[in-house]
Each structure stands twice: as C-alpha cells, then as structure tokens.
Amino acid sequence: MNFPILSSIILLPSIGALFIFFGKETTVTGKQIIKYVALFTAFVNFIISIYVWYLFDNSTHDFQFVEEKEWLKGFFNYKVGIDGISILFIVLTTFITPLCIISANNNIKFRLKDFLISILIMESLMLGVFCSLDLVIFYLFFEGGLIPMFLIIGIWGGNRRVYSAFKFFLFTLLGSVLMLIGIIFIFLSKGTTDFIKLYEMGIDPNFQNYLWLAFFSSFAVKTPMWPVHTWLPDAHVEAPTTGSVLLAAILLKMAGYGFLRFSIGLFPAASDFFTPLVYTLSVVAIIYTSLVALVQEDMKKLIAYSSVAHMGYVTLGIFTLTQQGLEGSLIQMISHGLVSAALFFSVGVLYERSHSRLISNYGGLATTMPKYSLLFIIFSLSAIGLPGTSGFIGEFLVLIGVFKDNFFVAAIATLGVILCAAYMLWLCKRVVFGNVKNENLIKIKDLNKSELFILTSLVFPIIFFGIYPEPLLNTIEVSIANLIDTYNYNLNFTNKNNG
C-alpha cells in the first residue's frame, strides 16, 4: 500500500491543533509561535493537496488514493478516496483555510489559541467529508463540523451570538437526525455502508423516496434551500469574519457535495421523482432571496441572502442531470466558495475599522480606500456572474443545462441574474461610490499588507478560472459523465423492474 496521503491531509491540521494546544498564549513569543504553527500547518496542507491534484488522474472515474482500515468489525470501516468531484473541494478547503488563519491572526482579540484550534479541527473535519467513502464516516465528519462552527459563532460572535448559534444548531441537527436514521436503515437492509459497494448493489426503489427525503432534509438545511434558509443570515451576521468565510465557502458546499454523492448516486429513481420539487425550491430561492437581498440594510445579511440565491443555481444544476448542468453546479460551488469568501473578508475589513455592518454607515470609500474599492467591485461583479469571472462559467453552464430540461425554469432562473446585478451594484453604489458622508471614515486606512494578500489571492483564481476554466472542467469531466451514466443505467433498471 502506498503512502496514506489522504489521511495525512485529513490529519495534518489536527496535529497542528495539538501542537497549538500545548502552546502558551500568554507570552508574546508564545503567541507568535502559535500563529506561525497554525499558518504553517494550513499552508503545508494546501501544498500537499495541490500535489494530490497534480498526481490525480482525471482520465478515470474510479476512486483514487483509496485507503481502507478496519474500524468496527462487521459494521463500518475507515475508508477514504477521491474522484474528480471531491478533489476540487479538497483544494478549495485547503486554499481558504490558510487565508482564514491569516485573517484570524490579525483580527481575533481574545482566546486566539482556542480559535485557531477550532479552525484547524474544522479543516480536518471538512476534508474528511470530501474524502470519506463510507456513509458512517461521512456522517461523523459531516456532523462533527457543526461543533467547531457552533463554538466559533457562540464564543467569538456578535451580540446575538447565542441566539444565532442555537438557531444554526437546531436547524442543522434536525435535518441530520433524519439522515442518521436513513443511514441506519441502509446498513440494516444492505449490511454495508461502504458506498462504492452500495452504488453497485443499488437501493430498493420502494424505499428510495423515503431515504431520499431523509438525506434531503439534511442537505437542504445545509445548502440552504428555501424555506429552511433563515438560519444562514443570522449565523453569518453574528459569526466573526473567519467563521462567515468558512461557513459560506466550504460548509455550504458539503451539502451540494452530498446531493451529488448520495441523492443522485444512491437514489436515482427518487431523484428523478423529486426533481420538480428541487426545481421549485431552487427557483423560489433564487427569486425570493434576491428580492430579500435587495432590501437588506446589513452588508453581511445581504451577502448571506445572495449566497442562498447562488446556491439555488447549484441545486438547480445538479438535478438537471446533464453534463453541462452538473459541471456548472460544481464550478458554481467552487466559484461561490471563492467569491463569497472574498466578499465576507471584504466586509470584515470594514468591520474591523469602523465596527459597523450597516450599509448606510458607509459611502465614498473609493476616495479613501481606492485599493479596497477596486477589489470590492471586482468581487461584486464576480458575484453578478460577469463573463470573464468564474461565476459566469458556473451560472451559464447551469442555465444551459436547465434549459435542455425545462424552458420555463431556465427563464425564471435567468431573471435572478438581473436581480443579482441590482442588489450587488446598489450595494457598491452605497458603500464604495458617492461622497464620504460619515466623518469617521475620512481617515479610514486602506488595506494593510495581509488584507491585500488575502484579497488578491482570491482575485486571481476568480479571474483565471473565468477565462480559462479548463483545469477545473477537465478534472471533473470523467467523474461527472460516469455519475450520469450510472444514474441513467440505474434509472432504466428500476423502471424495467417496476414495469
């Protein structure tokens, strides 16, 4: 067996966290060491994951770098591996985490040590989600991720942090309990939770609908889909910047990933049956949350609502079951991961300076913070999905996929693109342009070096993948094609049995 590279990626952040645990926050040098250990760990992990991407063979749909170790005999095994769908999420996670750590190092004022430990453990758990090949392992990682996030919001959050943390926990837990029941049911009826085996066995179509709903309830909350989205704006508003970034950029993507892996992969008949439901909820999400975003007064809430709308395109694309729709969803998730991270970092920059998230508090930043303003506009335009940014590739492919399936849904979803431009540009107008109305903002400082580093390192992939998305598309192409083939094969198989 080869070097267990995936386990290393998953474990490395936790090992870093362990080191930090023994560090001393009270002394100046101790604090420095903690900061550097965290940053170093996250950065090395990023390098390793890039190396894995480099080693990754995108001509096959088989899972690669597979590791299997017996855990509970006869129940489940520790089994990890990746295919074209998961590798991109892994790179996204390891890319965003170091940026979060840089931001936290500069901005977290108390209990920095605990904060860094939370982030690193969270990274381990998130990476675990994207690597696991066993339902139970997946569930452990998926739900484990709630705990550090709950702590991040609950300890380092704003004034209403307890309410938000509770709401976040209540919503997500409620969904996942049903998923757990679903997993237990699958184990009892099939005798395994290894989902490569489950793909081959197929699930009895009579139970698919119930199981699909059980999994859906968990993923829909995490995505979040309308109408179970109301935890997201509150969680974002109260979370510290780093928390918001992790939440928007990666945590939400776990749900999209879940849809791809389980809803589509394990329950094709049910997915086919529930497609109208998903379409409806997605389209409602796109239009509804865009309109709500239009009237928000709080920047973070506005971006949070826009996240819901953008994730609407993701769910829409996944259930088109077309090559373009699925590839579009994946690109949209990666792109949204970058763009929403960038936007939340940007809001964080302002919040650090004037301790307000209210849009009306700002205006005229183009005069006082030119570098910041330029970057902010670029991020807004990427959120709008302007051609030449990664957002466009995702939205365009999703819409072209949806169009093949349903003209009406595609038309309404395209309307969302107009609304998105409306709220983002209006936000820009009120924050960046105009005259400086607020006297406190006259002496506001432009980006410092670390902020500039964070934001520019997000600009490059956004524009690069907008102009040349081939590296992403090539990576996922074969796996997506295989997913669709398997889906259609199973669907036909079920239909034949029923008919």
């Binding site: 509770f166 709401k167 209540l170 919503f171 109408p227 179970v228 109301t230 935890w231 509804y288 309109l291 709500v292 975003a293 239009l294 009237v295 928000q296 077309t322 090559q323 373009q324 590839e327 579009g328 005229g364 183009a366 005069t367 335009l381 302007l386 051609p387 030449g388 590739i393 365009f396 492919l397 819409l399 072209i400 169009f403 093949k404 003209f407 009406f408 595609a410 038309a411 395209t414 309307l415 693109v417 107009i418 609304l419 431009a421 409306a422 540009l425 209006w426 107008k429 960046v432 342009f433 105009g434 005259n435 102009i467 040349y468 998305p469 081939e470 598309l473 090539n474 192409e477 094609a481």
Partner: protein, 637 residues
Amino acid sequence: MENIILFLPLTAAIISGFFGKIIGDRISEVVTSLFVSISAFLSLIIFYDVIFNNYESNTLIMPWINSGTLSVNWSIKIDTLSAVMLVVVTLISALVHIYSIGYMSHDQHKPRFMSYLSLFTFAMLTLVTADNFLQLFFGWEGVGLCSYLLIGFWFRKESANSAAIKAFLVNRVGDFGFALGIFLIFYLFGTLNYSDVFNQIPSYIDNNILIFGISFNAIDLICLLLFIGAMGKSAQIFLHTWLPDAMEGPTPVSALIHAATMVTAGVFLVVRCSPIFEYSTIALNVITIIGMSTAFFAATIALVQTDIKKIIAYSTCSQLGYMFFATGVGAYNVAMFHLFTHAFFKALLFLGSGSVIHAFKDEQDITKMGSVWKKLPYTWSLMVIGTLALTGFPLLSGFYSKDAIIEFAYLRGNATGILAAFVGIFTAFLTSIYSWRLIFKTFHGDYKNENIDQAQIKESPFVMLVPLIILAIGSIFAGFVFKDFFINTSNPFIFWKDSIKFLNPLSAEHPPLSIIYITPILVTISIPISYYLFLKNKNLTIMIKESNNFLYNFFLNKWYFDELYDIIFIKPLKKIGLFFWKYIDLKTIDRFGPDGISNIIQTLSLKAKKFQSGFIYQYAFIMLLGFSALLTFLILN
C-alpha cells in the same frame, strides 16, 4: 496581426490602470493613445486587405469552455463585417483617446479614465471579432461593464452613480433575452459557433417548440430573443431609458461608447445573425416596427430637450432606429453603411459639444449659451459639418446612408417597409429641425449665460481640435467614397462576401423620384424654418409651445417612461422584497420554525416542572391513578 490589434488596447489598459500612479499621467495618456492608434492603423491595413485581397481568417487564441457537447473557443474572426467594425471601433477610439488628453486635463484621475477607455476598446474588439455566441456575449457584457464604469466615472456625483446602475440593469434586461436566445441556439443546434449554427439553419425552418403548450417556431423565437438583447444595448424604445441618463459620463465617453461603437453592437448582432434573421419574417417585421417607432419617438423628444448632450443622445437613439428598420427590411448592408457614417458624424457632434461644454466650464444647458460662433470658430464650423452630415444634407455622408435606408424600405414593398419609409422621411425632417435648433441656440442669438463672462469663452486646445477635424473629414467623405463598396445593388457579395446573408436579393430598381427627392428637399428647407423658429421669431415657438402644452410636456418628460417603470417595476419589487423578509422569513418561517419549537419546548417544560412539586402525597396520588388505570386495562382485557 489580429492578436496585436486585440491585445494592444488590453495591455494599454493594464499598464495605465495598475501602474498609472507610478508612470504618471502623461505617460499613461501617451501609452494608451499610442497603443490604440497602432491598433487603428493595423485595422486599416486589415480592412484594405479584406476589400482588395479577399483576406479572411479565423485565429484561435485558446479554448475557453469544454463541457460535454459544448465547446467554445477564444478566437478572432476576420471577415468583411468584422473588418468594418474593427475600423470603426479602433479609429474612433484612437481619436477619442487623443481628444481626452485635452478634455480631461483638469481631472485628477486621468490614468484611470484612459485605462477604462482602452479596456472598453478591448471588450468591443472581442465582441466584433467573436466567432461564436459566447465570446460575443463576453464582449457584450464587457462593454456594458466599461460603460457602467465610465458613466459612473465621476463617482462622487449621486446622479452619475444612479445613471451607471440604470445603464447596467436595463442592459441586463436585454441580456436576459439574449441569454435565453443563446440557450435556445445551443439547445437546438448543439453548438454556439456561428458557422455551425448558420449552416444548420435552413434545415430547422419548420422546427417548432412548445412553451406552456403553445407552439412557437424555433427560428422566430431565437430571433426575437436575440433582438431583445439588441434592443437593450442599442437603446431601442422600451429599453432606451438608460441612454439619455448615460450622458452623466464624461463627453468623450458619450462619443465613443454611447454614439459610435457600443450602442451599435445591437445592429451588429442582427447583421451578424442575418443568416438566422432572414428566415424569420415575424422577427424582421418586429424589428422594422420597433426601429421606426424608436426613430420617430426619440426625434420628438429631442425637439424639446435643453441639455446639449441629451439632444444628441436622443438623436443617436433615433438614428439607431433607422439602422434597425434597415435590417428589418433586409438591407443589412445599408444598415452597416449608416452605422459606419453615423460613427463619424455622431462622434464629431459629441466631441464638438464637449468642446462647447469645455468652453462654457461644464454648462450643458443650451438655453444658457448663444452668440459664441465667432468665439469658437473651429468648433462651430465643425459642428455645422456634423449637423449637415447627420441631417442628410446632399453629398455629405449621412445623405448617402440615410436616403438609402428610406429607399430600400420603400422598395421592400411590404406594408411595414412602406410605412417605415414614410416614418423615416418625416423623422428626417424632425432630425433636421432639432439639429439646427441645437446649432442656433448654442452658437447664435443673444449671449445668455450669467455665470461666465463672454470674454472668457475660449476655443479648445489643439489636441481636442485635431480629432474633430479628422472626424469632420470622415463625415464629409465617408459616404461618397464608400457607398459603392457598402451598397452595391447589383452584387453586394463583392464587398460583403458571405459575411451577410440575403435570402432575397436586394431590389436593384429605383424608387419613384418623389421618394428620392423629398428627403433632401425637406432637410434643406428645414434650415431656414429652424432659423426662423429659433432665432428670428421666438414668439411663434412660444405660441406653439403654449397651444400644445400637453404634447410639449409629454415630449419634455420623455413620454413618461421613467415614471412608468418606477411605478411598475422598481417600487413594487422593493415592496415585495420587504414583504418576503419581514413577513415570510421573520414572522412565518422563524416564528413557527426554530423560535416556535423553542417556545413550545419552553412552555411544555414549564408545565412539566409543575409536576415535580416535591410533595410525596401528590406523587402517591399520581401513582395510584396510574396503577388503577393499568389494573382497569388488564381487567377489561
């Protein structure tokens, strides 16, 4: 060479945009102007090659999106159509760059301005040289972005910011149609490359698709959707509201983007897609009707406006209407010809008005000008040339292109065509009236500005006048020199080759003499008419105004489109948004969802608490009750 033409402006934009502070204002200005001028020079060479050596090419830059059956590349397609656009775009752009050095001399953000201008040029070039619909869309949105940035260039001005957003959003409405059109094309043909799509069109004529149970002809639907996009970009009626507001941007921007190049992208789109549009009679009729309505409607508004730039903006809107109904009657080459000549004289008029505004220290109201033609001799004479060319005065460039449009509309012979011809003639008359009104009010009569002493009015610097002179030369000769290339009735394919498709050959006949002569005559007699109305006998104008107060207000308020849209779209959308947020999110989902659950649990636990009173006799009593209930149950069974 194609690569150089395309990427020089981008390089200039990057240099000036990111390193403007380091290299300084002057070097940014020189670099951007020089690079775009080189592009213009190379474009002229390509244009020459295309005309005389039948040059054509399709250069692949790199792949863009490959997803399933969708495969799209970045590429540069050179044929007659794109060569014409290359010349128009780079030439006007180069002149505007040079002019801006003078016009923006007092501005603090020169490198940023020059960078945006060059970036715009790049985006426009990617648009015209695309060989597929997606790159076209990239350029389409790219020019929209630059337009947004340039309209809002003076970002401290509230009105400029609003105008910028309005321009972007109204265009997005058009893009909504355009995007759906692209989706439909991909859905039907499985490709987005022009040549692959166009080749398949003839076999898809009878394809119908069902939407809401209604059957639509696929080709008609594609054409109408694409045309919605064109309407947005080219400011046609219903989607025109952004163009007058866009005049908030600096005047060179108005000349380049909102007169000569970007706004003609819609016309270019229709001409480029002539192989599709030729198969859709419905779409062509719709285009004719929208085009002539816009031509007429914008001219009526231009009659009564007092802002010098808004008059010219409505005039642009109106002339774009001409181009559209030319395409609507199948005279694509004539539309392109008018696009070509219009670029010269409209850019000339805008830059000339910029020179006037410059002289009056940013005053744009023509009722606060007058009597300065001797003070601004160059500007005055150049603007007169521009006006003559625009109105279609015999032998100037507008004469050849505009009259040709009217003639071909008439020759088309169908009802919409003939109607369009007459609307075109009447609009030409209106055009002449409002254009001369502008000249007379701006340059003649009494001096009416109270803020600036007449002695302070000075002619613009040399660097601003040279581009004007070049444009004036174009305005005079472009029509005469190029008419045989653009409108060769016996065989349009000599010049256009296969870049334009004509299903029915254009009529080579001549329309009745009355049609040929009426426009030049009307145009000429309108000069003395406006002279009399706006200079000699102003009481008559006031009388007309007062006796038709309703009509006057209707025109002055731009047919109340803005107010209407505000009531129909903007206000309700905000209200709906608020309703969704406050009543559905907060008061329904949250109230009955998480908050509801926690409330229920709290109430229940409060009630449950009461059971645990700590008194033994209560517990004993409950036990007794339970025990007897259980016993009863067992006995009954």
